[in-house]
Amino acid sequence: MSGKLDKFCLVGAVFALLSLVFPLSGVDPETGKNVAFVSDLPGLASAMVACVVIGVFFTWSGVTSVLRGSIILLVVIYGAWQAIATLYDHGLAGYASYGFWMFIASLWALVWRGIDVIANYRTLDQGKQQTANIIVPLAFGIWLLFLWEVITAGFGVPQVLLPAPSMIGVRFVNSTGILWDDFRQTFLKAVLAGYVLGCGSGLLVAIAVDRVPFLKRGLLPLGNMVSALPIIGVAPIMVMWFGFDWQSKAAVIVIMTFFPMLVNTVSGLNAAGRLERDLMATYASGYWSTLFRLRLPAALPFIFNALKINSTLALIGAIVAEFFGTPIVGMGFRISTEVGRMNVDMVWAEIALAALAGTAFYGAVALAERKVTSWHPSFRVRRH
C-alpha cells in the first residue's frame, strides 16, 4: 500500500514477539520455581504467534478495510481468551510477569487499531452505520473490562480492594431482586423527583433573573452560594428536615442540580445574536414572545449542557445522601453497608447498576438534545 508503516500494528507485533521471549511468570515462593513457561502453555503461545503474524503483516499492508479490522479483533479476542485461561487454569494468577504483560500490551495496540478502523467506517446504509457506532464503545468497554480482569488476577489484587469483573458479574446476576428494589428507591423515586425539581427551578430562576435585572444582581451571587453547599453538609440537614425516606435525597439533588442549570441558562439566554434580537424588536415582540421564540431556542444547547451534567450529578447526590441515614433500601445504603461487610463484589454490582442507569439517563438526555437542537452546528453532519 502506501509507504507509511502502520505504527499500532508494529507496536503490537514487537510486543507479541518480546512476550515470546520474556518469562511469563514470577517465582512461586514455596517451590522456588517458575510457575509457567511458554512451552507449558501451547494455547497462549499460539495466540502470541498469531499476534506476531498479523501484526507484521498489517504493519506492511496497512489496515485498510473493515474486514482487516475484524480479523485483528478476532485475533485479539482469541488472545484475550487465552490470557484469561492461562491466568485461571494454569495458576498464573498473582504471578504474572513481564512476558505476560507484554502480550497484553501487544493486544492493546492491536485492539486500538481494530477499533479505529470501525470508528472510521462510513456507509450510507443506516443499519450498518448504527451497528458500527454501537460496536465501537462496546468493544472499547469490553477491552477495559478485560484489562481490569487481567490486572486484578495477574497482580493478585485482594478482592476486598477491587474484585474482578467476572465476580461482579456473577454477583449482579444473582442479586437482581435486591438491585431492583434499590434501583426503585434511589433512581425512580429520589433521582427523578430531585432532577425534575432541581432542573426546573434552576430554569425558572434563571428566567426570573434574566427578566428582573435587580434579581440578576442580587440573586445570582447568592445562587452561586446555594449551589456550592457541599452535599456532605447538606445531606444530614436534609435528613433532619425531610425524614429518612427518598424526599430528603430528592432535596439534596435539588440543591446540587440547581446551580449548573442556573448558570448555563443565564449564559444561554445571552447567546442569541444581536441581529436576531433586533429582528424581534422590529416585531415589537414582547418579552415572553421573544423568550420563547428566540432566546430559549438559542439557549437550548446550554440548557442541555446543564441537563447532561445534572443527570450524572443527581445520581451521585442521591447515593451520597443515603450515606447519612435511610430506610434500609437504596443503592447508597447498599454500597455503604456492604463495604462495611466486606462484600465488595456487591458494592461493585451496585456501582455497575449506577453506571448503567446513569449512562442510560445521560443517553436519553443526549438523544433528546440531538432531536431538539439538530440545527446547532455541532450536530450538522459534514461530508468530509
Binding site: V160, L161, E322, T326, P327, I328, S336, V339, G340, M342
Partner: protein
Amino acid sequence: ADNVTLQLKWVTQAQFAGYYVALDKGYYEDADLDVTINPGGPDIAPPQVIAGGGADVVVDWMPSALASREKGVPLVNIAQPFAKSGMELTCLKDTGIKSPKDFPGRTLGVWFFGNEYPFLSWMSKLGIPTDGGPNGVTVLKQGFNVDPLLQKQADCISTMTYNEYWQIIDAGIPADDLVVFKYEDQGVATLEDGLYVMEDKLKNPAFVDKMARFVAASMKGWHWAAEHPEEAAQIVLDNDATGAQTEKHQIRMMKEVAKLLSKDGVLSEAAYTRTVDSLLSGGSDPVITKKPEGAWTHAVTDKM
C-alpha cells in the same frame, strides 16, 4: 525503631485514648516502636485498609472482623483491650417501650457498615423479623448522631454507653425519660475494639515480637488513661485535628470507657466463644456461616 501503623475504627476520641496516651507519653518509643495512628471515619473499613496494606494493625469489632475473615481477609485477634461491650439500644420512655417484647411495630435506628451484626443477632434471638412487617421492626440506617431520637423519627436508637447516650442527655432529655437496653444485660454482647492483624504476618516471629511490644505499650497507655481521665482527654483533644471535640464530653467518655477495659488485654476464650455462638445463631441469615478457625491467637499476649 520498628514502624507500626494503627488504623482506628472511628474518629479521634477517648474511645481510643489508650493509644494516644501511649504515643504521647512515649510508651511506644520506650518499646522501640515508631507508631502512626490513623483515625477512622464513617467511610473507613479497617479490614479494607489492612488488606490494602494501609495499616499493620487495626481496631475493629469482632463481628465485623469475623465476617471479613469469611470474605477472605484473614484477620486474627491478637489482643482485646475492651473486655465488655458498650452497645445499647436507647428508647424514649414516652413511646411506652418497657421491654424487648414491645419492639414489634416500632422503628429502630441502627448503625450499619458492619456494626449491625450485634443488633441483627439480637433480633433473631428474640425472633423479631427486621423487614418492617407488622410483627417485625422497621429498621432505619441511622446517621452518626442522635437526631432521629430527638426528632422522633425513631422510637429507639443505637448508642454507646460512652458516647451517644450522653449526647441525648446533653440534648436535654433526662435519664429518667429514657429506657436503655444494654447488650451486655440482654446476653447478646459481642466483643468490641479488639486489635487485629493479618494472619500470614504472624508467621514472622519478628512481627509477633513487634506486636507484643505494641500491645504491652498500648495497655500501659490504657491503664494510665483510666487513672487520669482528665489528662487523657486532654491528650485526645491535642490529637484531634478537626478541633471539634469538647473537653467535657471527652472526659466523660474516658470515664465510661474505663469501665469497659480489660486488665491485661488478653482475649478471653469464653467471651470469644460467646460472641461466635451469638453470631452463628442468626437464624436464616447468620453473620458467619461456620465456626471460624484460627481467628484469634494468644501468641502475642503470651510474649508480653
